[in-house]
């Protein structure tokens, strides 16, 4: 009974002990806040990574896509491959499959009379099929959340396109040369090679009005004005023309790669809030890209959505590896395996950060050690009195171990409350700090997140609390052991 009584009294009367409580509290609060923010970033990043990828991805680096033949040696079309996938043991576990083509490309457009170019990742999709495998429609700006998104141009986009056309014509009309060009405007036809109709037809830009979904950051510029505010301007509006240059043609040219290009009109933006995607992804209709690259009836990837990802991912991947022979360069991977290094890096970063931050609790532990050693010296005589009244060595040790436990528990309780409060109000705190310091603590133009994402994992909070209480108790053991070993006669003579 006396152990509990003295623990509580020492806690109430020793102001030094509050330093220990504050150390533990700050350590625990920091760990909770950092973990919540890291976890928030991580969850949001995972959502985004998963968002643009389907559950399982089958892809190949072959320029002209997969080569899957039937028993007679005839190459299968993507639809036939999908049918084969659905007929395999993986079929019943698959919710949706869609073929895509993914290639690198250069995007060119005019902005204030200047030709701008950007390297992009060009993806040919069937928009409905792509939306069915998940994570496409919810990132579209205009067609946000549409079950059946399309590349159709809106009347406004068509109007913008018409305006652009008239503007171009007016500009061309103004360019009247003052001095006649001494060179003939048309080269001597005799000097030209014989025209090849097939090649001319192939190399001609696609004239049909094809829509393209452009990454939000590609289409928008951001800068800071004189007031330091972030200003955003659309460089590409719906209906604006873009030209996409890529490589294609290996199928008919016997393995030779040729540059190809096509004109598209902006129809929508992709806004995932992941800068990597928003600044490089351009979606165009699959059939248009197939024609452009002369790879009709072929694709370079299949995006697959599972009915129950966690339960079936392994079975489906194993079954698909039986269809797509890895010797032909085909890869079958879950979205996690696809982004394995990035996800592993997030986990490693979080682990290292936790380890480093737990040092704060370690420092709190050392402050407990130092302060307890002082308190034991101060309580030398009291220890002698207790022993003269019949307290055992074990009992005296328990007083100080309980004291450490109590300090740790109180510190953890306050730290958890503080940490959760900060986490809950982190955006308000960030705005306040930005207002006070005049410097953005969380620059939104860097992260593309509207708010600081947080995700409080109660298991993690419990682990932090248990760890901190254990550290506080552990560091009180040495002073407690010293107190217990104190000879009562020497303690009573101590004045």
């Amino acid at each position: 009974m006396y152990k509990l009584l003295l623990c509580v009294r020492y806690l109430q009367t020793r102001y030094l002990a509050f330093i220990c409580i504050v150390s533990v509290m700050l350590g625990v609060a920091t760990l909770i806040v950092v973990n919540a923010v890291m976890s928030g970033f991580s969850t949001k990043l995972k959502d985004r990574l998963h968002g643009v990828l389907s559950d399982v991805i089958v892809d190949t680096d072959r320029s002209d896509g997969f080569e899957i033949n039937d028993t007679l040696g005839k190459a299968l079309t993507p639809d036939e491959v999908v049918a084969r996938i659905m007929a395999s043991p993986a079929g019943p576990k698959i919710a949706a499959v869609t073929p895509t083509i993914e290639v690198f490309a250069i995007l060119q457009f005019n902005f204030r009379g200047q030709a701008m170019t950007k390297p992009v990742r060009l993806i040919g999709i069937d928009p409905e099929g792509r939306a069915a495998v998940g994570g496409f429609a919810e990132y579209l700006v205009r067609q946000h959340g549409h079950a059946r998104p399309s590349f159709e141009l809106t009347p406004e986009a068509l109007k913008q396109h018409e305006l652009n056309r008239q503007r171009r014509e007016r500009a061309d009309a103004l360019q009247v040369p003052n001095v006649p060009d001494p060179k003939p405007l048309v080269p001597d036809p005799a000097a030209l090679p014989e025209p090849d109709d097939a090649v001319m037809k192939r190399d001609m830009p696609v004239t049909k009005l094809n829509g393209a979904v452009i990454g939000y950051t590609i289409a928008h510029f951001r800068w800071r004005n004189e007031q330091g505010e972030v200003v955003e301007e659309a460089a590409l509006k719906p209906g604006d023309d873009v030209t996409l240059f890529t490589a294609g043609g290996s199928q008919i040219d016997g393995g030779r790669i040729r540059p190809v290009f096509g004109n598209f009109l902006v129809t929508d933006y992709l806004k995932t809030e992941m800068s990597e995607y928003d600044q490089s992804f351009v979606y165009v209709p699959l059939d248009v890209l197939q024609r452009l690259r002369t790879m009709e009836g072929r694709c370079t990837a299949f995006q697959i959505k599972l009915k129950n990802y966690e339960a079936d991912k392994k079975d489906v991947v194993d079954a698909l590896r039986g269809i797509f022979d890895p010797r032909t360069g085909a890869r079958v991977a879950t979205w996690e395996e696809h982004q394995g290094s990035l996800l592993a890096a997030i986990d490693v970063e979080r682990g290292i950060l936790n380890l480093l931050l737990f040092m704060i609790v370690g420092v709190a532990g050392f402050s407990i050690l130092a302060i307890f050693t002082m308190i034991v010296s101060e309580k030398y005589r009291d220890i002698g009195i207790l022993k003269s009244l019949g307290a055992s060595n074990h009992g005296v040790m328990s007083i100080f171990v309980c004291y450490g436990l109590l300090l740790g528990t109180v510190g953890c309780g306050l730290g958890t409350a503080l940490g959760l409060t900060i986490t809950d109000n982190i955006n308000e705190i960030e705005m306040f700090l930005t207002r006070v310091t005049g410097k953005a603590v969380f620059p939104r133009d860097v992260y593309y997140f509207k708010d600081i994402p947080t995700n409080v994992d109660m298991v993690n909070v419990a682990v932090v609390n248990i760890g901190a209480v254990a550290v506080a108790t552990l560091f009180s053991l040495l002073p407690a052991w010293r107190a217990a070993r104190l000879h009562p006669v020497r303690a009573l003579r101590f004045e």
């Binding site: 009584l5 207790l386 003269s388 009244l389 019949g390």
Partner: protein, 245 residues
């Protein structure tokens, strides 16, 4: 009742052995009020610590009712200090964080687990209040030691020592830190306890004036008992012995 046989005890100071008790023999009888006098360094306090099992002798034996107690396991010695012996110190040694009532209750707190205390708390509280009233501190129960005078603190220490109704009260210079009048008051209190409640008291003191109130006086020189008034009557009959101190 309490017997010391051939007690030897030495302390080490910087590798030098300092003998304090050198084969001391003493017998304390049940119900007597014994005072031990002697010059500083004669080993009075050391003897008291050994008798109350706060310290262990280098050699010799201590017996309580014929049973050896100096070599008992520490757990048993803790229990003896909690229930059989009561200590009173020169500097009162109250715990500053606790109220007078809690200080008096401390031996009961030590002797019980939380559950045990919860069950018996009203009995112990009543006993503590009774003792504090008896020593004249009924109105000071909720004061901290820092708010009490020296005499009041010593009376609180006496109440604490009596809480578990010990058989032997060991008082180490109980008046050493008090003025003469307050010292007399404390000795009178001990005298009454001895007479009315039959508590055996062993008191170490420098103050020759107060030993006249005790039943028997023992003088120590060089770690042994040199004079003992034996079972003679107190007060004026001690004069020859006191003169020799």
């Amino acid at each position: 009742m309490l017997t010391a046989e051939n007690l030897c005890k030495a302390y080490r100071r910087h590798a030098v052995r300092v003998p304090v008790l050198n084969g001391l023999d003493l017998e304390v009888k049940t119900g007597e009020f014994l005072s031990i006098v002697g010059a500083s360094g004669s080993g009075k306090s050391t003897l008291l610590h050994l008798l109350g099992t706060l310290d262990a002798p280098d050699s010799g034996r201590i017996l309580l009712d014929g049973r050896r107690i100096d070599n008992l396991p520490s757990r048993d010695r803790d229990a003896l200090r909690n229930r059989v012996f009561g200590y009173i110190f020169q500097f009162y040694h109250l715990l500053p964080e606790l109220t007078t009532l809690d200080n008096v209750l401390m031996p009961a707190y030590i002797g019980h687990s939380v559950v045990g205390w919860w069950k018996a708390r009203s009995k112990w509280r009543a006993r503590a209040v009774e003792l504090l009233t008896k020593v004249g501190l009924g109105h000071r129960m909720h004061h901290r030691p820092g708010q009490l005078s020296g005499g009041e603190m010593q009376r609180a220490a006496v109440a604490r020592a009596l809480l578990t109704s010990p058989r032997v009260l060991l008082a180490d210079e109980p008046t050493g830190n008090l003025d003469a009048a307050t010292g007399d008051e404390i000795v009178r209190l001990l005298r009454d306890l001895n007479r009315e409640d039959g508590v055996t008291i062993v008191m170490v003191t420098h103050n020759l004036d107060i030993v006249t109130a005790t039943d028997r006086v023992v003088r120590m020189v060089g770690g042994v008992v040199t004079d003992d008034t034996g079972a003679r009557k107190p007060a004026p009959f001690h004069a020859p012995l006191l003169a020799a101190v």
